[in-house]
């Protein structure tokens, strides 16, 4: 992708005053911003041209944000960040996993929002696959719904775990550097350090490896990073 072309963001929110200030903030950071006040306007804008990313309020009048997100995902697999007063604790939030790459609770902190936008855009190359990924007789990943099936039993993955696995799965069999995983897994890399990756990978093994002490899928490359491999072994 052309690194010099400014990234385009479509901002969809029913609060006019927020549209103004947020589009100014994003423009100041070099993004090309288009705005829409409701779902219908958003769909008209999409007909004119696809942005690189959509920033969407979930509670919009006319077209419900969730319905809009589903419609967009059905037409074109554009990355979506949901910006909403609904936080991750809400029952509705589960549904977001299907359609949204990330979500930010309102009121947002702009630096955090910007970090998440950057992270999602960075991941454009390794978008979460929409199908199941079978890695062996005992492990299947369904990252789009944040789940893994280990020996026939489904386990839920946290957003971070599924992001880490997504980054590893996009480079299946290849080494992914710890720094890369840190950047993909955590928006705020000022706070997070390599030990976040180490501990998270250890916890991930507890979840998805049959024998966490003898991993067959999530392998450590000492001093460099990690590899995700398909394995016929039973583990």
């Amino acid at each position: 992708m052309d690194q010099h072309r400014p990234r385009r963001i479509l901002l969809v929110d029913d609060d006019q005053s927020l549209l103004v200030v947020l589009s100014e903030q994003l423009s100041d950071d070099g993004y090309e911003v288009a705005t829409a006040r409701d779902g219908q306007e958003a769909l008209r804008r999409l007909e004119a041209g696809w942005p690189d990313l959509i920033l969407l309020d979930l509670m919009m009048p006319r077209v419900d944000g969730l319905a809009l997100a589903r419609q967009i995902k059905a037409d074109a697999d554009l990355p979506i960040i949901v910006l909403s007063a609904i936080d991750t604790a809400d029952s509705k939030a589960r549904l977001l996993d299907e359609v949204a790459e990330d979500y930010v609770a309102k009121p947002y902190h702009y630096p955090e929002l910007r970090a998440r936008i950057q992270r999602v855009l960075l991941r454009l190359g390794d978008r979460i696959p929409r199908q199941s990924l079978v890695l062996g007789p005992n492990l299947t990943l369904d990252l789009y719904r944040r789940a893994a099936t280990v020996c026939g039993t489904e386990v839920q993955l946290t957003p971070t775990e599924s992001r880490l696995l997504g980054a590893l799965a996009a480079n299946l069999g290849e080494i992914v550097a710890t720094e890369t995983l840190l950047a993909r897994g955590w928006a705020d890399t000022e706070e997070a350090g390599p030990s976040y990756v180490w501990v998270s990978m250890r916890r991930l093994r507890q979840k998805i490896e049959v024998d966490p002490d003898r991993p067959v899928h999530v392998l450590t490359v000492r001093g460099v990073g990690y590899r995700l491999v398909a394995s016929r072994e039973d583990g």
Binding site: A89, P107, E191, W198, V199
Partner: protein, 524 residues
């Protein structure tokens, strides 16, 4: 004795009426009691004394048999004796007359006694059967009907026993059906369903032609006249305790007997129905109250959600504009007033979020997305966000390298609430101390947040974690009064806990939160 006998002996025509064995007097009802051919073998075809175990093959009444038996026992030996005397006269041989007379007297006495014993045993058999049957009925056991032939006193006695036993058995069946019906009454079904079920149950249990249960004052339902030949009216008041709820009326077939015991049974049924109806009424009231409360609760949650959203929308704009203003010029960036606007907007945001969290905790929809987090950094950031510049702050991290396993947003809410409390109640020039420790054995992290304020009074300690409570001294303080409640609940959903440390001399309130933790990780 109208019923035909079904006795197997009776169905066996070649067998002559068998005598009851005299040596088996204790088994009068035994159907297979041994029988033998009449031993005294009187040549006369006079009927033998009676009593096959059950019923008679030939229809002779007790009275006839008694008479016949007595005659056999008294007259036959006498006749035989007379015959021998006549024979002795004819031969008039004095040598043999003496011994022959003695022998014949002995023989006559022997046969007489034997015949009497057999007759008595056979005749008392039906009496014994009646006695046994009456005893069984008196003991509450079912008794098979006794079949005696004839129309004498004993047959009538047996018949009346049979009637009493049949009625007792019928009432027993009715009582069983009644208890079964009552046990099946479910208050959740509602009064109307129960009402119609009680009506059909009453018809089934008491074999009524029709039945109606009216929940009205019994005085308003006129008593029907009992006209012989017409279906017989019956009624019972439906009561629950001292209240009369209604009246049960119905009709019996004209031929059915209806006695005191039957009325008692009906009254029992009616009162049990009354209790069940009262339960159903109460249940219905509780149900509807419950539904109303649930509605109100849902409305309250909906209201809180709506208002939170409506509050958050302008707050988002305010916060965004302040950020933009402060970023746009150096002068504005240093403006203390803009800083205060930003802080107060954040504060409002947190309070609104706290309200929302309560509704979610109560709806049980809160589910943490746990991540690994460095708690020390998180505490410091929460402290900085609080911006209590003039309050001293000390953070001692004894668990370096450890990461907590928690939902970052929820942990922030907890830390903010506890630090905010420490500043609010710790006195303006107090000092807030935070200590982080790890417990290797349990794999948990403990964070203690302490202030140097007046501490918490004993009465307050007990209700500190309840909703909408504050320390009495700060009754008029700001905040939602939800901080500690929300914090503890949030921690619990993450597998953690929040507790108040015991009061210590020279120290204010101290709270310790604990969370699952991960020891320092190394690569691999």
């Amino acid at each position: 004795m109208a019923e035909p006998t079904t006795d197997p002996d009776a169905a066996d025509p070649p067998r002559t009426p068998a005598l009851e064995a005299p040596d088996a007097p204790d088994a009068p009802e035994a159907p297979d009691a041994p029988s033998f051919e009449p031993e005294p073998a009187p040549a006369s075809p006079a009927p033998a004394p009676p009593a096959p175990p059950r019923g008679y093959g030939i229809g002779l009444s007790f009275r006839v048999l008694l008479t016949a038996g007595l005659i056999v026992a008294a007259v036959l030996p006498l006749a035989a004796f007379g015959g021998i005397v006549v024979a002795a006269r004819l031969y008039s041989d004095s040598r043999i007359v003496g011994p022959l007379l003695i022998a014949s007297i002995v023989a006559a006495a022997f046969f007489g006694l034997l015949a009497a014993a057999v007759a008595v045993a056979a005749l008392t058999a039906p009496l014994r059967r009646i006695t046994t049957a009456v005893e069984r009925v008196a003991a509450g056991e079912p008794s098979p009907p006794i079949h005696l032939t004839g129309d004498d006193e004993l047959a009538r006695l047996a018949e009346s026993h049979n009637r009493i036993a049949a009625e007792a058995a019928r009432r027993n069946r009715e009582l069983g059906a009644l208890l079964e019906a009552i046990a099946g009454y479910n208050p959740a079904g509602g009064v109307e369903a129960l009402n119609s079920r009680a009506e059909s149950d009453a018809c089934a249990i008491f074999s009524l032609i029709d039945c109606r249960l009216r929940l009205v004052d019994p005085a308003t339902v006129p008593t029907e006249e009992d006209i012989p030949g017409d279906p017989r009216p019956m009624r019972a008041d439906v009561r629950a305790g001292s209240d009369t709820l209604g009246v049960l009326t119905g009709h019996l077939p004209a031929t059915r007997a209806w006695e005191r015991a039957d009325q008692d049974l009906l009254d029992l049924f009616a009162s049990e129905v009354g209790v069940a109806l009262r339960n159903a009424e109460l249940f219905g009231q509780i149900e509807s109250q419950n539904a109303r409360l649930l509605e109100l609760d849902a409305a309250k949650d909906e209201f809180l959600r709506g208002i939170s959203h409506n509050l958050q929308t302008p707050l988002t704009s305010i916060r965004a504009y302040v950020d933009q203003l402060r970023a746009s010029s150096d002068k504005a960036g240093r403006d203390r007033r803009l800083q205060i606007v930003a802080e107060q907007a954040d504060r409002l945001t947190r309070l609104v979020r706290q309200l929302l969290t309560v509704t979610r905790l109560e709806a049980g929809v809160l589910r943490p997305d746990v991540e690994v987090i460095a708690v020390g950094l998180r505490v410091r950031r929460a402290w900085e966000a609080l911006n209590a510049g003039d309050v001293a702050f000390e953070l001692r991290d004894e668990a370096r390298g450890w990461l907590a396993v928690a939902d970052p947003d929820q942990l922030d809410q907890v830390l903010w609430a506890l630090l905010d409390n420490a500043v609010k109640y710790g006195g303006r020039d107090g000092k807030v101390e935070v200590e982080i420790r790890s417990d290797d054995a349990s794999g948990r992290l403990h964070v203690t947040i302490a202030d140097h304020g007046p501490g918490i009074s004993d009465p307050d300690r007990a209700r500190l974690f309840a909703r909408f409570t504050r320390g009495a001294a700060q009754a008029s303080g700001d905040g939602t009064g939800l901080g500690l409640y929300v914090s503890r609940q949030l921690l619990r959903t993450m597998g953690g806990e929040l507790r108040l440390e015991p009061a210590r001399e020279g120290l204010g309130a101290a709270f310790t939160l604990s969370l699952p933790g991960e020891p320092p990780g190394d690569e691999g």
